[in-house]
């Protein structure tokens, strides 16, 4: 049964890698700025998923802290970029 679980883990990792590829394509060809911000948002969530799957594969808990930091900083980055698109400035006086 371990082999089936490993195969499912491989499948999930390949799916997440393909999803990162699609988000990267949208990041480069996106016609408007908000498309690129959305693709960046999807890209960091997929990177966090990659780290979580690596943590499952190697049985290490060190990946969780990195995944937590990625989700935190990705949220801050997306919010700052959306605020910049909305107002033309990030920190308002």
């Amino acid at each position: 049964m371990n082999a089936v679980f490993n195969a499912a883990l491989w499948f999930a990792q390949v799916c997440v890698a393909l999803a990162m590829l699609g988000a990267t394509v949208r990041l480069f060809v996106g016609p408007s700025a908000q498309d690129r911000v959305l693709a960046f948002d999807s890209l960091y969530v997929n990177g966090m998923l990659t780290l979580l799957l690596l943590g499952i594969r190697y049985g290490s808990t060190a990946y969780f802290d990195t995944a937590l930091l990625i989700s935190l900083f990705g949220f801050v980055g997306t919010t700052a970029l959306a605020k910049f698109l909305l107002r033309g400035d990030v920190v308002e006086p």
Binding site: M1, N2, V4, F5, A8, L9, F11, A12, Q13, V14, C15, V16, L18, A19, M20, L21, G22, A23, V25, R26, S32, A33, Q34, D35, V37, L38, A39, D41, S42, V45, N46, M48, L49, L52, L53, G55, I56, Y58, G59, S60, T61, F64, A67, L68, S71, L72, F75, T78, T79, A82, K83, L85, L86
Partner: protein, 107 residues
């Protein structure tokens, strides 16, 4: 650290959840890639944010205790953070897109 023999109550739900989460992530990215305009493209990554992340976090909560031998609850922190932050960033992005469309005069 060599791979332990995972018990059956980990591998069966883990396999189903991993396949479901991988498919949801892939479908979300395809929606981001192939839909026509920005407001329909918003729907793709939210599928990754809910179903993909949820399935992978549940698998991790199942599989990591079998590796380390003690219960792990770190994943709940990531789930809480992502479930609270994703609607906020999505709403801000929608507001920015609506504002830009209105300024350009094509809304």
């Amino acid at each position: 650290m060599s791979s332990p023999i995972l018990p059956l109550w980990v591998t069966i739900p883990g396999t189903v959840l991993l396949v479901l989460g991988g498919l949801a992530t892939l479908v979300g990215s395809l929606g981001l890639l192939r839909l026509r305009d920005f407001f329909s493209r918003m729907h793709g990554p939210s599928m990754t944010n809910t179903m993909g992340v949820g399935a992978v976090l549940l698998t991790s909560m199942l599989a990591l205790p079998a590796w380390t031998g003690r219960p792990m609850f770190h994943e709940l922190l990531i789930a809480l953070l992502l479930l609270t932050s994703a609607p906020i960033s999505t709403s801000l992005l929608i507001q920015a897109a609506l504002y830009r469309a209105r300024v350009r005069g094509s809304a």
